[in-house]
Symmetry: C2
Subunit: 247 residues, 2 copies
């Protein structure tokens, strides 16, 4: 059974302040936790229903961690999800060490994506399109926010996200694309072999400082009247066109 | 000033039950309300800050409705947004009369899109790609939910959404595409001149009953490891490829 102290500890990790202090975060829901068990993330605690523990007995045998049998009610109280709670894991963060990129690949750059759900959707989309590194500004939502982890649908396990000062990091980038309302048509642009693609903030787009570093402005053609696209949607359309252009 | 009774009335419209009874919904935020004033929607009440009323004096002159000068605090109390409240309008719903379609155009079909934010994003995306009719199952989220209206970023003013029984409505559809994990590659499919494109539920995809009516299964090629795409992202990628294919 989950003690009051442990329940309180898990709940505290819903807040960025405590996640940062502890360098730990939570992963919730049967599906995400099952995938997590197969990953190289270090799990420090697992609270789950007897059913879940029974189903995952093989995966659990390979893991050394504190395992606490809990009721659905307890898990619902500890977690952030409204429904479907059968497992919550406390997980060690990985170090935030942005690698030198790119090397024959494309990297997504997020310039202040503020909404945790949007961020999770972008991580999931990156995973779909085989983009495994994301570089994000310090003002971007926290990748370890339970909403981001949830919306990523397990893709946070495969896609690494690093926070850094974009203007420093991108200064010597070989090829830097940015999405704007005006630019080269994403349907016809000949994408380079490798590079960075910057997605701007939900309301304000790409910041002036980062805009100054962009080599090529790209735009998604509009056929109707909306003023803009959702940032996650824009990222997906650009990545789809990138992959399509290389067929 | 907003009376307690009116504040309570506006708040009640955050709930579907009262929206349905009243056949009214709320539109919040300076930008959306300004666009609303230019539309053909019937506004029955407008509560706004003196600043907003002053800025919109020309648009307001063309409208006949109850206008209530309010403080930001009052508007924040009445609305569903956390920030940036300077106007809330109470608006008459339009009749739910699904038209006979298509006629040289494409129509989006939503088979149980449950998340109000996803729904709003899809409406915004449809507006970007010039899709002005959406047919939705009865289990799809409420288009008049404040979260949907908010996420649509004003596009609900241009895109009409109708609820109906999909299996009845689509029975005689001339060309019905559905998005699946397996099917014809959306990058290379020769889309017809007109038709319907069905987007399935966030967790379960397209329902068996609707699947039985689909003429052509389409899929978005995957280059990585994610199991699926967010429903709103999938809709956007399909619409982008549809428009691109007609260039």
């Amino acid at each position: 059974m989950l003690s009051k102290a442990k329940l309180k500890y898990i709940k505290s990790l819903q807040l960025k302040k405590y996640r940062k202090e502890e360098q730990r975060f939570i992963v919730e829901g049967a599906r995400s936790v099952a995938e997590l068990l197969d990953s190289d993330f270090q799990i420090t605690m697992l609270a789950a229903t007897p059913d879940f523990l029974h189903q995952q007995v093989k995966r659990l045998a390979k893991r050394d961690m504190e395992t606490i049998e809990s009721s659905e009610q307890q898990l619902a109280a500890a977690g952030s999800l409204e429904t479907n709670e059968s497992a919550i894991a406390v997980v060690q963060m990985k170090p935030n060490e942005p690698p030198r990129l790119p090397a024959n690949e494309f990297t997504l750059v997020l310039d202040d994506i503020r909404d945790p759900g949007n961020l999770g959707t972008i991580i999931r989309t990156a995973d779909w399109y085989g983009i495994y590194n994301i570089i994000a500004s310090g003002e971007t939502a926290d990748v370890y926010n339970p909403k981001t982890i949830g919306a990523s649908m397990g893709s946070f396990l495969r896609v690494r996200l690093f926070y850094t000062v974009l203007t420093d990091y991108l200064r010597d980038a070989p090829k830097l694309y940015g999405t704007f309302l005006k630019g080269t048509d994403v349907h016809t642009i000949p994408f380079a072999k490798e590079g960075f693609i910057v997605i701007g903030n939900e309301s304000n787009g790409i910041s002036a400082a980062v805009e100054g570093l962009i080599h090529e402005r790209i735009m998604i053609p509009r056929y109707g009247a909306a003023e803009s696209l959702n940032a996650g949607v824009a990222a997906a359309v650009v990545l789809d066109n990138l992959r399509r252009s290389k067929k």
